[in-house]
């Protein structure tokens, strides 16, 4: 009872501190993780991209549909959509459909059913053009599919899709879920790696045209009723914000963060499609030249994306443009014949010629950054981080079981075996370093001049980063047929080089720290110098030797670990750490770090035990 209380009194501060350290892992994880999460969240490259297409609307209640009636498909329908004033409130996500909207639809021949979601139409269908509309069960269906985020390299079988939940098809070949691929949330795992350069798409809306020439259509879910082709359909468009009053040149998309350089973007003024392609100057921008020739004789001239003002920045004569100040060397000089996206973040365009008052500026297709792929909140992004520099402590704890069980004991990659291998390497380093240390210490004590000559260089030797020399050392030893794959010698040399230094210093001190009385006594017994060494100096040096060996242990362990990272024999903790770092399993790295720390303490304890065995006279109460 009394003993256990006393023991508890010694241990509880350690336990309490340990608990605090573990709990500190949580704020630390947030401290290090949140900036990374923030970076991920703000990085537009990691956002989910969404394409707004001219949408075939759900037919609102009370709308009338005229079957098999003129007008034919084409411009008229568009115009009707515009006349319907499908207005967009800037900033809102949905296109509101006006009530009582009268939308004519022409119904074509029905589709042939090939499977639950696979249909074939009679006529060729346009795969991406808005000209195709499918009508079933009283409503127009929306067409849409997304590409996989990853590009197929011919080897990977896992692909991610943003905002799509339908079936998958590769190029013009529809796939069967369950046999060809499996779905795991946003991730699709293929049974067979899709070929390099193929297009992997997934249905994101109601249906997608898989193969336009044979009329193959894939539905997201089995449609109700007959599937028929709507030969003409009402399409709504987003009207860009900004009043066309005859002078206004600036208009804005409803959604911010428009993808710059999006080749699919389409902007119309009434029914005239604006040309999104910029012209390059015929001449090189070399920093001296001020006059450039473009393909057309009108448009917005922009240097590095910033529009220049005619009259102030440049003057124009036909296709030739002369700058007041030559544009800097290698600047991106372009002429945008119709319009330029001046502010991708705000979604603002600048039009070359002001639309006349009352004209509509609208779009039916563009791509924008919808949301960060990691989530909408910082916390969500934190949890979605692929690698946490400091994982939550309980994540580490959860990994311990699987980590230890990952490889069988017979496998070299088993953690227990790796630890043993590293222990062996460290011990051999300690033996080598200890032996050399003792040898040098004895020589130093016996021959003072040699100490004077060598000691400064023993100290200097420790400033040489031996660990940096590991590759060189391995190469040199490899020439003699000694490789780290087969021998512990390289590890021993590297660790020993670090260990011998404290041993020399400590043992010399120990050998000299002899009680003068004992020396006098030995002298009076006429003892030889060998006897003095064995009977007085060595026993006096033992505690010093072990203390310095303990000092060298951590260094020897680091040496062994570094040597292991340089080898490729898949053995040892060093190799494991490197492997887990490379594969990004930070929790496993932390487990390995903790194991290494415990191993370090264990080795020090082992040396302490050895000391008690070899020098029992030092045993204290």
């Amino acid at each position: 009872m009394d003993g256990s209380t006393a023991r508890w009194r010694v241990w509880w501060p350690v336990v309490a501190t340990l608990i605090v350290v573990v709990l500190l892992g949580y704020p630390l994880a947030l401290l290090f993780g949140l900036p990374l999460a923030r970076r991920d969240m703000l990085d537009l490259r990691k956002w989910i991209k969404e394409t707004v297409e001219a949408q075939a609307p759900l037919v609102p209640a009370g709308a009338t549909l005229h079957y098999n009636a003129a007008p034919a498909a084409g411009a008229l329908i568009w115009r009707q959509a515009l006349i319907g004033r499908a207005q967009v409130d800037p900033g809102t996500e949905r296109v509101p459909v006006p009530n009582g909207f009268d939308a004519p639809v022409t119904i074509g021949p029905p589709f042939e059913r090939l499977g639950p979601v696979l249909f074939r139409g009679a006529t060729p269908l346009a795969a991406d053009e808005a000209g195709t509309a499918i009508y079933t069960a009283g409503r127009l269906q929306m067409q849409g599919s997304v590409l996989a985020l990853e590009r197929p390299d011919g080897q990977a079988t896992r692909y991610t899709f943003g905002n799509a939940g339908g079936p998958v098809f590769i190029d013009v070949r529809p796939l069967e879920e369950g046999t060809d691929y499996l779905v795991d949330g946003d991730v699709v795992v293929f049974a067979e790696a899709p070929p390099f350069g193929s297009q992997i798409r997934r249905v994101s809306s109601d249906y997608a045209v898989v193969d336009g020439s044979s009329g193959l259509v894939l539905f997201a879910s089995p449609p109700e009723g007959n599937v028929v082709l709507a030969e003409s359909a009402v399409r709504l468009a987003e009207v860009l914000a900004g009043e066309a009053d005859g002078t206004n040149l600036r208009f804005r998309f409803a959604r911010a963060n428009i993808l710059d350089g999006d080749g699919r973007r389409r902007v119309f003024v009434e029914d005239r499609l604006l040309n999104p392609v910029a012209e390059r100057a015929e001449e090189r921008v070399d920093g001296d030249r001020a006059t450039f020739t473009f393909e057309s004789d009108a448009g917005i001239v922009a240097v590095d994306g910033v529009p220049s003002t005619e009259g102030r920045d440049f003057s124009r004569s036909g296709r030739r443009v002369t700058f007041a100040q030559p544009p800097p060397r290698n600047a991106r000089l372009r002429q945008h014949p119709d319009y330029i996206l001046v502010d991708p973040e705000g979604g603002e365009i600048l039009v070359a010629a002001a639309p006349t008052a009352g004209e509509l500026v609208w779009t039916d297709r563009y791509t924008f950054y919808a949301e960060p792929s990691c989530g909408n909140t910082l916390i969500a992004c934190f949890f979605a981080l692929p690698q946490h520099p400091v994982p939550f402590p309980h994540w580490i704890a959860e990994r311990v079981g699987p980590f230890f069980g990952k490889f069988a004991l017979t496998d070299e990659r088993n953690v227990v075996r790796a630890t043993l291998y590293t222990t062996l390497g460290t011990l051999s380093a300690l033996v080598l370093g200890g032996a050399i240390g003792i040898l040098l210490a004895v020589v130093f004590v016996l021959l003072r001049p040699i100490e004077r000559a060598l000691l400064p260089w023993v100290i200097a030797s420790q400033t040489v980063p031996i660990i940096a020399l590991v590759p060189v050392l391995l190469l040199v030893l490899g020439n003699f047929g000694i490789t780290i794959q087969t021998s512990l010698l390289p590890t021993a040399i590297i660790g020993g080089y670090i260990t011998f230094f404290p041993v020399v210093v400590g043992t010399v001190k120990g050998l000299r720290s002899v009680d003068p009385l004992a020396l006098d006594l030995m002298r009076s017994y006429a003892a030889s110098s060998a006897q003095v060494f064995v009977k007085v100096r060595f026993p006096a040096a033992v505690p010093f030797f072990f203390t310095s060996l303990k000092l060298g242990t951590a260094a020897a362990l680091v040496g062994a670990l570094v040597a292991e990272t340089e080898s490729n024999n898949r053995r040892g903790l060093g190799f494991q750490i490197l492997g887990q770092v490379q594969s990004g399993n930070v929790a496993d790295v932390w487990i390995l770090l903790i194991i290494s720390g415990i191993l370090g303490i264990g080795l020090v304890a082992l040396i302490g035990l050895l000391e008690r065995l070899l020098a029992p006279w030092r045993r204290r109460a």
């Binding site: 501190t17 000559a453 980063p465 660990i467 940096a468 770092v581 903790i594």
Partner: protein, 370 residues
Amino acid sequence: MKPIWGSLLGGVLAGLGLVFPVASGSASGLTVFGIPGLVLVLAAVALATDGRPWLATILVPIGLLGALETVSTLEGPGGLGYWLTFWGFLMVALGALGRVSLSERSDEEGPAMARVRAILPPTSVPLVLLLVWQGLVLGFDVPKGIFPSLGNVIDILVSSYQVLVRDAYVTFVKEVLFGFTFGLAGGFVAGVAIAYSGFLQRGFLPLAAAFGAVPIVGLAPVLGRAFGVDWESKAVVVVIITFFPVVLNTVAGLTEVDQLKLELLRAYGANRWDVFFKLRLPNALPFVFNALKLAAVLSVISVIVAEFLIPGPPVGLGQRISLSARRGAFDVVFAAIFVSSLISILMYGLLSALERWLTGWHPSFREEDA
């Protein structure tokens, strides 16, 4: 006078070497090494037969010069003549060195001789080692890609010193100095806190040893992820490397004070601050300096390892070493290692000087002077 047998034998061997061909099939040593070689051999033999200590001090440079001459005139792999002359001259130097340092101190020798005795051995031993390196690499004609000669390394030091200075600036000023300062400050503050708290002493100190044992090899990549791959993460490595020894030694220094002195101060009615500034802090300084000297050397090594493990922008000595080793430019590797050693030695020396200045009163310095 008794001759210096080692040097005598060396001189004879070196002379013999002059007869044999330097390389297999080439001319004899006499024609390659020429008159200077012969003169050096004759001087060595003559001086070695009369073994007075001051003559021995002349023999050391003669031996070193001879070996240097042999190495520098060699072209291609060495033959019997080369090896005999080379090792012979080194034996001349080593034998004389032995005589200088081991001979009994005689009464008639002046203070100049005593100074030579103190300086000659430590300065000439590294020269011997460097000569052995150069001699072996040139003698066996080891290709540069496997092991560089001293000459290659010196060439790099001269020709690309600007690159190395820039690397050293990144490694030393940005990473080591920054981390060292923060590790020292943090470690000292933590040490004071622990020294004044019994709870932390019992709870934290045993764990500090465990934290110290966590290898930098594993920590570095994690830090690289947390702090970015630029110099900041490597500075943090130095902070950690410096922090723990400083904590442990500060605590030891602040707590292991002489009870008598403590009682004396109490008797004078000293308050806590007086005890801290007049007794505990001065007592802790030698401990802290010990830790700092250890951490200085260790942090340079660790920062290089960290640069190995966190490949960032290709500047810094560690990056230089790692990149050069990968493409087999070992002369650059050794040059960078030389620079990093120089930095460590300078740091160590500066700290020692500072220690001597600040804690010159400490008994350990008295013993050294005696």
